[in-house]
């Protein structure tokens, strides 16, 4: 199992394709950062137009913490697509190149093989998020400095003191890792059903896009399925950036507004992972390799 896992990692990080995602993220984040560095004040006043009509905000609104939030908000919709690129290729890619039959004629257990491969794609996913964190958080902190974090939600705004922010990002990134490994699990499962990489990659992306649409649209019929869609729960990382208020409407530093929401979402995502990977293992164990 350990050998298999090492070999899978070795393969992932020897492939040029792996680095496409890293490059894409670097470019995306770099673009957002450049844009905000140059025209950030404009952007801030645009987003806060409604707010600015009755309030005056003073301070370094456009600091690294805020920039990271914007980057994550924009990026975490697209990272799943980059993860699909690798995860949905894990089995189908091997089937496509024909290496799968060679691998499976080796004395390795199929279930262990599946688990090792999934774990390797989890490692890849986490590395990708570490990369995002390095760039979106740490680099933004360097470029834009740190300050209190003021974010606008759809019905209220939250001001978080600068000393209260970092642990929230740690939590948010951990949650994002969970959400992204769910995507990896889905891509991984779908990669069993094809002998080319494109099919599962497109299928994974489609599932994500359709589910995201369902999660976004506020239509009663769709609202019934919403709580069960993993895409609904993928954005729960934002809950780390909401404070609880006491009866005097004072926000309590270090608090979370809806910790139970985070727990529920994490649980639902975990269930998805277990189901997807479990199904992958069961299906692959019985699968005839004819590629």
């Amino acid at each position: 199992m350990w050998t298999l896992f090492q070999i899978e990692l070795f393969k992932i990080f020897r492939r040029p394709r792996t680095y496409i995602a890293f490059a894409a993220i670097t470019a995306l984040i770099g673009m957002v950062q450049l844009g905000l560095k140059v025209d950030g004040q404009e952007y801030a006043s645009f987003v806060m137009a409604d707010f600015n009509s009755s309030f005056a905000l003073e301070g370094n609104l456009l600091n690294g913490y805020f920039v990271c939030f914007i980057v994550l908000q924009l990026l975490l919709v697209h990272v799943p697509l980059l993860i699909a690129l690798i995860a949905a290729d894990m089995i189908s890619g091997e089937a496509n190149t024909g290496t799968l039959r060679l691998l499976m004629s080796k004395p390795v257990s199929r279930v262990e093989f599946i688990l090792a491969k999934y774990l390797a794609s989890v490692v890849y996913t986490i590395m990708l998020l570490v990369w995002v964190a390095l760039q979106a958080l740490f680099l933004s902190m360097l470029i834009f400095g740190t300050d209190d974090m003021f974010i606008m939600k759809s019905s209220y705004a939250v001001l978080i003191k600068s000393g209260d922010v970092f642990w929230r990002y740690a939590g948010a990134f951990c949650f994002a890792a969970l959400a992204m490994t769910t995507v990896a699990a889905l891509g991984f499962l779908l990669s069993l059903f094809a002998e080319n990489s494109i099919g599962p990659i497109v299928a994974t992306m489609s599932v994500i896009i359709v589910s995201t649409l369902l999660s976004t649209m506020n239509i009663p019929l769709f609202n019934l399925v919403k709580p069960y869609l993993f895409t609904t729960h993928m954005i729960t990382w934002k809950e780390f950036f909401d404070l609880r208020v006491n009866e005097l409407n004072e926000a309590i530093p270090g608090s979370l507004a809806y910790p139970e929401k985070i727990k529920t979402s994490a649980l639902i995502l975990l269930i998805h992972i277990v189901v997807f990977v479990g199904a992958a293992a069961v299906i692959f164990k019985r699968k005839d390799i004819v590629s």
Partner: protein, 311 residues
């Protein structure tokens, strides 16, 4: 002699389609076992079942006297395989590919040993080049290197010469002979080309539409007494009548158009010629066909009388 592979009543069905039908055969230790059949005859399916890539619908496989279904790992550890085109990771070097698959087979060799293995298949000088720069022949050799790297007792090669040039085919043949004679390996080799099998195999199995047509030692199959002779005369109908009425009837195999085929001992050809002359039938051509090849083509093309070949 100990049976290294013992296959009984092996069947694989895909829905209503039967790819492999009640196939039984055995491979003895030290055999170079030729597995012949046309494309789609069920060779690959059978080999994939031997390599646990495909689950049999029914039947039983024992390798090294162990049931494959329960001793998969032990068996595969002692088995090396090249299944169809030996595809490896194009973005890795030959060395890395070899090392990777060796570790999957449960062995960890020294650098020198890996290089020696690459040397054996003539790739030492390209050890650290990425495989995507390799020709088909080089990939094939690397595939065989991978199949041999963990020093297995049994080597399974599925169509190993597909897509190779004549030199490549000759190289593989020499390698197989060396493995068999010097290294005392047991080899199962499949092909749709008889010529490939003929020169190396000690035993031959021919299958068609998932069914066994014939199995036997190469010596038996090359028996001069079972030579196919093709006859062309000025009067095919008369010749056929005469032959049916004579002692040759038992040897008559087929008559299509102007051709009549007989199976007989090569040494009896002059006697047949004499009889035809006696019957005043002009012989246009009396040709000894290249033994197994035509027979193979014939039987696998769905012809009859195969039972006489079985043993």
């Amino acid at each position: 002699m100990q049976s290294l592979i013992q296959v009984s009543s092996l069947t694989k069905k895909y829905g209503s389609f039967t790819a492999v039908n009640e196939l039984s055969f055995s491979v003895q230790k030290g055999d170079v076992y030729g597995f012949l059949g046309q494309n789609g005859a069920g060779k690959s399916t059978t080999i994939r079942m031997l390599m646990t890539l495909i689950e049999p619908t029914a039947g039983d496989i024992r390798i090294f006297d162990l049931p494959l279904s329960t001793h998969r790992k032990e068996i595969l550890r002692q088995t090396g395989a090249v299944i169809e085109k030996p595809e490896v990771y194009p973005y890795l070097s030959a060395y890395d590919n070899l090392r990777l698959f060796a570790r999957l087979s449960g062995v960890k060799l020294s650098r020198a040993q890996y290089m020696q293995q690459l040397e054996q298949v003539g790739l030492a000088s390209r050890a650290h080049d990425k495989v995507k720069t390799f020709s088909q022949g080089m990939k094939q050799r690397l595939g065989i290197g991978i199949a041999l790297v963990h020093n297995p007792q049994l080597i399974v090669l599925d169509e190993p010469t597909n897509g190779l040039d004549p030199q490549g085919i000759a190289d593989i043949r020499n390698l197989l002979l060396w493995l068999s004679r010097e290294q005392k390996k047991t080899i199962l080799i499949s092909s749709h080309l008889l010529s490939e099998i003929e020169q190396v195999a000690t035993r031959v199995l021919i299958i068609d539409k998932g069914k066994k047509l014939v199995e036997g030692s190469a010596e038996e199959l090359f028996d001069p007494s079972k030579t196919i002779v093709e006859l062309q005369t000025n009067d095919t109908a008369a010749a056929r009548e005469r032959l049916i009425a004579s002692n040759w009837a038992a040897h008559l195999r087929e008559s299509t158009g102007n051709n009549i085929k007989l199976q007989m001992n090569r040494n009896d050809i002059p006697a047949l010629n004499r009889d035809l002359v006696q019957w005043q039938i002009d012989v246009l051509s009396l040709q000894q066909q290249h033994s197994l090849e035509d027979y193979f083509l014939q039987v696998t093309a769905g012809k009859k009388h195969v039972d006489t070949f079985s043993n």
